[in-house]
Amino acid sequence: MSGFEEKDTPEESQLLNCMRCGMCLPTCPTFQLTGRERSSPRGRIALMRAVHEGALDLEDETFAQEMSDCLGCMACVSACPAGVQYGDLLEAARDQLQRKRVARLPWWRNLLERLAFLPFERLDLLRWSTRGLYFYQKIGLAGFLERRGWLRALPFHLGELHGLLPKLPRRFSRETVPPITEPVGKQRLTVGLPLGCVMDVMLAKENEATARVLSRNGCQVHAPRKAGCCGALHAHAGRLEAARVLARQMVDSFEDLEYDAIAVNSAGCGNCMKGYGHLLHDDPEYAEKASLFASKVKDVSELLVRLEFEKPSCPLSQSVTYHDACHLAHGQGVRVPPRQICRVVGSSYRELPMSDRCCGSAGTYNVTHFETSMELLEQKIDELESTGADLVGVANPGCLLQIQYGLRKRDSRIRAEHPVVFLDEAYQASEATRHSE
């Protein structure tokens, strides 16, 4: 009598596992903003259970709203004494709703949504459109429109979202990161590096730094061209079937390689790829391959710490702090390794208060829930300013773009980068001093 439809249902045993102790409440950003039980993880699980038990309709508006309002930041997963896998529950519930929605929406809305996700499945489309945006910025049209204030008149916060767009790199990382980067010195590990989708076209610098830093620490880095989007955005939005297609492609793209680890520099992607075993567990052909692949996935910081990475002899002259990306701290439980990097790249290290509270980026949340997202961003920037640090390490592309936008808007002197970029800069500074000596 479950209100959910057979495939990809929120697992009953997980729903029962929630003992409603409420330990998640103080960690949940949306509960802290609204103070309403339904916007808490405990409330959301109760609603899922009500749907499962037939007490609430799957198409109930509040239910759909709540499943969409959740940031998916997984702070509740860190706090949960009973180990409830909230992330899996949320993705399943969203998938259920998504299927209902597709059946209900007019054809043109479905087409639009399909188009929004298409570039991540067809990377040539993503590259063409980013190239377009690059020239749009390059010829000064973006700056012109912004200065004129014409963008403010646009609907759906498009004007503000325009500001979120970073200055795009001239070249994609697949044009700059070689297919194989040989290790400096003796080879210690063979590492696969997926260049990704957004990382490839918008954050090429981060991919380049990752390859350089890993090679410097004894890794032979393979960056196969066919490794594209990992499917995290799809899974997060409740498009599990689409995510599975991408997951299979990702697993396949490393098939020819005897790798020791898959290095990931995007927390959201790492979290998704570490979960491939679960995502593909019903696929007889891929279940085993996917689990094996997932077991090798490591955040780049985890890998560097395992390799006892070289400390830069001449660190940057500024003080550093670190923001915990949700999908790294809560999703993967990786908190210490990125701090170990941030501690040695600058002149001093300062801890950020509430460092593991979501910055509001949360995948596409800043597009779909602009106001809430900005409220969380403001809090984050206030806390960053309160540390007095000059640099902030941010290990996830979504958070990085969001926090860079927040800092830009405030004219802050703080610079946000991926920790690996700081490490790369510190290595280069060390090199430069060595040469000048």
Binding site: S13, L16, N17, M19, R20, C21, G22, M23, L25, P26, G35, R36, E37, R38, S40, R42, G43, A46, L47, A50, A55, L56, D60, T62, F63, E66, P81, A82, G83
Partner: protein
């Protein structure tokens, strides 16, 4: 269930945003942290001032619809589960710390203040509010007072009751009353404050709480001792008390619990051990150290196979993690976690733990026991699957047997979770008839219309004169007798 005009009036009192009626909204207020209990409220009202609370209660009393007060919903006896389609009154918006009086060592707070937030605020001034229920990061002071919450520091520092000096309460007729004050000595009249503490939302809604503070202990020493049996651990507890030491913390884990902890966290506990004790002393550094050293010696003398004293704060946290992990580790074992809360005199603790073991064996239940060895309050935790009717039946039998065993050993129904819904059927086994009657009468005189948290603490009163049926057969007989 409130009617539409009633809801309309409630909206006029607290604003449209403060009244929730949507089904999904109401479902999310249908439970607290008690296993297998839920009941959907008729509406949820969220006032933001004490005056609004009074207006809402006064209206409910006039119209005769029931009210259930709710803080963070972390209660473990079903106290804030809204029966009879009651209206839930949330105190979460009344969340200001109004005053910290450093001269009189008191704090005045609103009921929705989170306990840990008060801890933080007073500790920043070198002061201390000792009650520390397990849910302190989430639970509210209003809820703590209503349930008379305890915690790990109960043995040395007492429980919530020992810290409440004054209360502002909205009575069931909507009138606001103040009782108590900042004078440590105050013997004027009946102590109404004390009957309000632990009244489980049946006598009114607190709108201001005045609590006592004490100076923060300067230092703390933490010990973790491993024992071959529960008996040797209990002998150590007895020896510590005989040595005239009242430890700040004295907590135990039985074998089932420590095995679960080790399986879950892998912190290096020997899984063949019979029990572990976490002991803490606090106070002046020299005194705390001396007490800790004595406890260490006593533990060894009584057969501890392994005793560690933390050298620094970090190690103390590591040692204490074994106790902190107890509940999470147990909760992960099975889908449903039923937490018990009986209390026995300290000297009967070993017997109680072994009774629980027997009950677990007899009913074929998985039960891990941990708790407060110092004050005899233990938490046998039944791990089961609510989807299995046979296991549910065995759980109910085991639950009943545990309560019976505790009462047999001179203990009580509940040490710190309250009676609420979970133990209302047991109240008459603990109290003599006259005491229950007196409590019912008191409640009736305070709340003649029965609007505050109906169905809690007492078994619903019989609708007719005479005896209640005790069993199905007896019920049949009673019905036979009623036939004309």
């Amino acid at each position: 269930m409130p009617t539409d005009p009633q809801l309309e009036h409630l909206r006029s009192l607290v604003g449209a945003q403060g009244v929730l009626t949507d089904l999904a909204e109401r479902l999310s207020y249908s439970y607290d942290a008690t296993a297998m209990m839920k009941s959907t409220p008729g509406a949820v009202v969220i006032p933001s001032t004490a005056e609004q609370v009074a207006e809402v209660i006064s209206f409910a009393n006039a119209e005769g619809f029931p009210i259930v007060t709710r803080g963070s919903g972390t209660g473990l006896s079903g106290g804030s589960v809204p029966l009879e389609n009651a209206v839930v009154l949330s105190t979460l918006k009344l969340n200001r710390i109004l005053e910290i009086d450093e001269e009189n060592l008191t704090a005045t707070v609103e009921p929705g203040v989170i306990t840990a937030n008060l801890h933080q605020a007073v500790e920043a001034l070198g002061l201390f509010y000792p009650p520390d229920p397990g849910s302190m990061k989430v639970c509210t002071l209003g809820g703590n007072v209503a349930e008379n919450a305890g915690g790990l520091r109960g043995l040395k520092y007492g429980v919530t009751r020992d810290y409440v000096m004054g209360l502002e309460v909205v009575l069931p007729n909507g009138e606001t009353m103040w009782t108590g004050g900042k004078c440590p000595k105050d013997v004027a009249g009946y102590d109404l404050r004390q009957i309000l503490v632990g009244s489980e939302g049946t006598l009114g809604v607190f709108t201001k709480i005045l609590v006592k503070l004490v100076p923060k202990p300067q230092s703390k020493k933490t010990l973790l001792a491993v024992f071959p049996s529960m008996e040797t651990a209990a002998a150590t507890v007895a020896a510590v008390i005989a040595a005239k030491i009242i430890p700040a913390t004295l907590e135990f884990l039985d074998q089932t619990t420590l095995r679960c902890v080790e399986e879950f966290a892998g912190i290096g506990l020997p899984i063949d051990a019979g029990a572990i004790l976490l002991m803490e002393s606090d106070g002046h550094p020299a005194a705390a150290l001396e007490q800790a050293e004595t406890m260490l010696r006593l533990a060894k003398a009584n057969g501890a196979t392994q005793v560690q004293m933390a050298a620094d704060e970090e190690e103390a946290l590591r040692l204490a993690s074994a106790r902190r992990m107890a509940f999470p580790a147990l909760a992960r074992m099975r889908p449903t976690t039923v937490l018990e809360d009986v209390s026995v005199p300290r000297s009967r603790l070993v017997e109680m733990v072994s009774r629980v073991r027997e009950i677990a064996r007899k009913e074929n239940l998985m039960i891990g026991t941990f708790g407060h060895a110092g004050d005899g309050n233990l938490h046998p935790t039944i791990l089961m699957d609510e989807r299995d009717p046979d296991e549910v039946a065995r759980m109910h039998r085991g639950f009943d047997a545990i309560v019976e065993a505790a009462l047999g050993l001179g203990g009580t129904l509940t040490g710190e979770h309250g009676v609420g819904l979970l133990k209302r059927d047991f109240l008459e086994r603990y109290f003599p008839k006259a005491a229950v009657e007196m409590m019912r009468n008191f409640r009736r005189s305070m709340d003649p219309n029965g609007i505050m948290n109906p169905g809690k603490m007492f078994r619903p009163a019989p609708r007719r004169e005479g005896e209640l049926p005790r069993s199905r057969e007896h019920g049949q007989k009673v019905l036979e007798g009623l036939k004309p």
